[in-house]
Amino acid sequence: MMLKTTISPVFSSFRGKPKTSRLIFQACKAVLEDAPPGARRNASTNLTTLHQGPPTSAYVHLPFCRKRCHYCDFPILALGSSSSNLYEERKEDDPRITNYVNLLVREINATRTGFDTKPNLETVFFGGGTPSLVPPKLVSLVLETLSLNFGLSPDAEISMEMDPGTFGAQKLKELMELGVNRVSLGVQAFQDELLKACGRAHGVSQVYEAIEFLKECGVENWSMDLISSLPHQTLEMWEESLRLAIESQPNHVSVYDLQVEQGTKFGNVYTPGQSPLPSETQSAEFYKTASSMLRGAGYEHYEVSSYSKDGFKCKHNLIYWKNKPFYAFGLGSASYVGGLRFSRPRKLKEYTNYVTDLEKGAANWCGNGDVDLKDVATDILMLSFRTSKGLQLEEFGEAFGREVVNSICKVYEPYVESGHIVCLDDMRREVMSDEFKSLVANDEVKIEDHVRYLRLRDPDGFLLSNELISLAFGVVSP
């Protein structure tokens, strides 16, 4: 209690006064202009200023799907699966797609950032929906527009989410030629009955075909998405999916644990933890199985739901985990620029109006409001703890006050002891819990000198990440 109250002054003194490199956009201007010199910090190293520079990443939302999956609550536009030939370009472009891409291009063009420096984009991520339903020439249009407005680094990572059954070798080749160099393949499961039960528009045979296309086209950097805890899924099925995933040799695997969201078909029919969904215990077992099998196959579990072979982490997603800024374009997409998170309208009509307003200068492209350092701190906590790197204590303490670090350590002490949280020194060797305990107890010691990182243990800590992160939230906002 004592500790918690000592934290608030630290925050209030920093609030709204981060150092600025002359950000011109209206939103942050008022707050940032009169920052006293004393509050200025080195923008290159400080977590509180990390978000202030111009982004070098862009998320582009391409919302089209053949149909909505039963678990999905994303902003998508379902096209229907009437087309008989899904693998190749439709004869005539679907006007819905063309119109949307034109709107998207207008949004990008209307985004006048006003940053002094204009670093090239280093990562672009086409997410959806099913971006692979968009004809390559329209993808090309988007990339050109991005390049014209922001510049595109020649070795930028350009990822695209693709679903089996929505592309063939020809289309894939075209996309690769446009610069797409990373594919995230939405496989989800290797059992037809499970795919069907969750409303996927493809079957297992299309999965194998898609993998063939990837190999044929020489896509080296590709990721496979799997979902665990699907209805009717058994441990045997899950192990089979993981085994087949490993055999297909992607360099990256994302394992998502099914979240039953309100308003989705699953949300209406199923209750988490109850049949036909696996129990909480089974579900935890699935998570652990994924962790051990994939790590056993040479993947690094570098984030709660991400695994990669050496050198194949998703650079775009790392931007998220590091709390760095990124642009976002398209229906319902969320950007993070100048310390502000901003979500675009999720409905097409409203999004259309938004783009028109943006062009007229009547709408803001990155959100309004002040930057609350408490929000920055909690963002960093929740994002850092999702990664295997964990929270860098020194850096966090410099940004938000050493008292916060001490309090977090105090709150986490029992969980270091129980093994849910791992303490690491500067060589990333584990600091044992007894030593950590005595460090916490000793007010003379600067914990950060001995413990450089706190991270959630894989898989036990990751499995309880919400509980553990919310404990740290309690320290920051008592």
Partner: protein, 680 residues
């Protein structure tokens, strides 16, 4: 014209009233529940009515009989000789029609106009009306002309609950007679019986009245036989009435005059007045209701309270009719009130004797008792910031309720609060409800407990009402607990069910007798601790509401009592500790651990929940660890929803109390405390 003359004599008889509210005029929660707000608004209304009364045409449509009654009602301040005074109360079980009868008496005697009665029905204390009981009492002076001679009748109301049996005994002591009202379809109930015995002890003339004879299920003959058999009263002159229909009211009034003896004429002796009620008025201080037994009291007299030893000047004296009407003097046999800027009801307790300071009586009137709290519980504010408010509220209530005791208590789980003592369970509930309703406090109540007498090995005897303060087993020689004698009256079909209940509650069977063909009386002795839980609720539910009960404390007895502790993750949770009989420890322990397991959210680790006697675990449950709580889903960098969830989760933790490493929600404490009340 009758009305005009009435106007000259006194203010209009009626005003909207919280002070003299009741169903109507008689029932008032004087020392227990009149808020200052109500009194305040009440006084304003009083003024308003006085101002308009003169100009308002009275409804002149009533027949000549009621006009006559009304006139005599208006004359009720006129003095009559002591031999023409009749002081009486009404003894009745809940719902047997006491209030309706009282209202009818007031109406027929013209004390309260027909027109005004309805209004009074509307203006009633919520608590009292909801519970359908009279908690505290008040008085009404009526004038009744019998055979052309005016009489002054004082009705002194009695509360109808055992928690207040002392108050009942004092109001009975202020009377020479009583109406025993029994519902013609229900028969005699245990509580009625207890009060009749009290009345007989006070040598009161009892007039049996069988009420509700108009109801289809009425069996007046049967009920009369029951009264004769059970109480041994001569019922040859029992009056059959229906207060609701106005049947038999005149007969009752006549019987009061004929059969109840007048007060003794001791007006020349030094003053002795018996306090039968008092309440705190924030503007005038304590208002004391009394019956003059000997001597007389005048406005301006310096009076002396013999038990509290306090003296005050009688700023104002008056009669209750049913509202307060000032007079100059009251003499032996009369009933009235005194306002003397008395600071707290503790200075003028019920049962105390008022005498004149300059001419003190030799001895006080018999029967005065200090209030002894029998039931205790801890009261804690849900929101710790409300602690000062709770203290203020308790202090205010105490001004008006001398029986309420409290002292600060600190609990590791619930923070700062108070340990409070009450006369009984109803008293406890009323105080809790008033704190929550009138003072907007949100409270957690611990299980009620009784006061144990602990004999220690070094020969000391200490009283202990708080389980956490019970001396260690090594230091205790023996523990005694208060016992009560209960009498249960029940239709014979439920005898088995009640015997089972009493035996479950460690009851010792004493006696059973049939009071009528179909009804029996059961007498048990059992520990008070067994009664403070849901005994009464059980009694009602097991007999479909037909049984009634009455209890009296009969003293302390040694019992095999132990302290039952609850450990969560090996940490003692003090507020959940209870003192129970060894034979019950296992079942209570099991129930508590099971409930806690249900209510405590799962933690990141396995949590044992144990019930222990000393170091011996007698019941144990385990809360399994959370297996998975992770959001493993990608939102295209949109973390806002994830963050919202985490914030909510963090906020949820703040509402919990940490017992060691375990977060226990406040609701779990409350539910367990409630359960303790049920299982103990």
């Amino acid at each position: 014209m009758a009305m005009a003359s009435a106007m000259d004599l006194s203010p209009p008889t009626f005003f909207l009233s919280g002070t003299s509210s009741s169903s109507s005029s008689l029932r008032r929660l004087s020392s227990i529940s009149v808020s200052s707000f109500r009194r305040h608004s009440n006084r304003r209304l009083h003024v308003l009515c006085q101002a308009t009364a003169g100009t308002q045409p009275q409804s002149g449509l009533s027949d000549s009989g009621s006009k006559l009654a009304a006139r005599s009602g208006q004359d009720r301040l006129l003095k009559v000789p002591i031999s023409k005074i009749r002081n009486f109360s009404i003894i009745a079980h809940i719902d047997h029609g006491k209030s309706t009868l009282a209202d009818k008496l007031l109406q027929v005697t013209g004390t309260v106009q027909n027109r005004d009665m309805k209004e009074q029905f509307l203006d009633n204390m919520d608590l009292e009306r909801e519970r359908g009981i009279t908690i505290k009492l008040q008085a009404a002076r009526m004038r009744y002309v019998y055979e052309d001679t005016p009489y002054c009748l004082n009705l002194i109301d009695t509360p109808g609950h055992v928690d207040f049996s002392y108050e009942v005994s004092r109001s009975l002591a202020a009377c020479e007679g009583a109406l025993l009202v029994v519902d013609a379809s229900q028969g005699v109930e245990a509580q009625t019986l207890a009060n009749v015995y009290l009345a007989l002890e006070n040598n009161l003339e009892i007039i049996p009245v069988v009420n509700k004879i108009d109801l289809p299920g009425a069996e007046p003959e049967q009920v009369i036989r029951e009264i004769e058999e059970v109480i041994g009263l001569d019922c040859s002159k029992a009056i059959l009435c229906s207060a609701k229909e106005g049947i038999g009211i005149t007969e009752i009034l006549d019987a009061i005059v004929q059969r109840i003896p007048p007060p003794r004429d001791t007006a020349e002796k030094p003053l002795r007045a018996l306090i039968f009620d008092s309440y705190y008025d924030p503007y005038r201080g304590v208002i004391v209701y009394f019956r003059v037994i000997d001597g007389k009291v005048k406005k301006g007299d310096k009076i002396f309270f013999m038990a509290s030893g306090k003296d005050y000047f009688a700023d104002e004296i008056g009669v209750l009719s049913p509202n307060q009407i000032q007079v100059d003097e009251l003499y032996a046999g009369e009933v009235g009130y005194i306002s003397a800027s008395i600071r707290s009801v503790a200075d003028a307790r019920v049962g105390d004797t008022i005498t004149t300071y300059s001419r003190k009586a030799e001895s006080s009137l018999p029967g005065y008792e200090e209030a002894t709290p029998m039931v205790f519980c801890g009261l804690f504010p849900v929101d710790a910031d409300q602690f000062p408010d709770l203290r203020d509220a308790l202090e205010k209530l105490q001004l008006n309720d001398a029986a309420l005791k409290f002292e600060p208590e600190t609990s590791s789980a619930m923070g700062f609060g108070f340990r409070c003592g009450f006369l009984g369970l109803l008293h406890m509930e009323i105080v809790q409800e008033r704190l929550e309703r009138e003072y907007n406090l949100n409270l957690i109540t611990t299980a009620p407990s009784v006061v144990y007498r602990v004999n220690t090995v070094n020969g000391d005897t200490t009283m202990c009402s708080n389980p956490s303060l019970l001396p260690q087993p090594g230091q205790r020689k023996s523990v005694e607990e208060p016992y009560v004698k209960i009498e249960l009256l029940t239709p014979k079909d439920y005898i088995g069910a009640l015997m089972e209940l009493a035996q479950d509650r460690r009851g010792e069977f004493k006696e059973m007798k049939y009071i009528a063909e179909n009804r029996a009386s059961l007498i048990y002795e059992l520990p008070l601790a067994e009664m403070v839980g849901d005994f009464f609720d059980q009694l009602k539910s097991r007999t479909k509401g037909y049984a009634s009960m009455e209890y009296s404390v009969i003293g302390y007895r040694e019992s095999d009592l132990i302290k039952l502790d609850i450990l969560i993750n090996a940490e003692l949770v003090e507020p959940l500790s209870t003192i129970v009989h060894r034979d019950k420890a296992y079942s209570v322990g099991r129930a508590l651990t099971q409930k806690l397991k249900e209510l405590i959210p799962r933690q990141m680790f396995k949590v044992p929940i144990q019930a222990c006697i000393g170091s011996k675990v007698i019941a144990s449950e385990a809360l399994s660890a959370i297996r998975k709580d992770v959001l493993a889903k990608c939102y295209g960098g949109d973390i806002s929803r994830k963050k919202k969830l985490l914030k909510k989760q963090a906020a949820g933790k703040k509402r919990m109390k940490a017992i060691g490493r375990v977060d226990v929600p406040q609701e779990a404490f409350m539910a367990v405390l409630k359960l303790e009340r049920e299982v103990l």
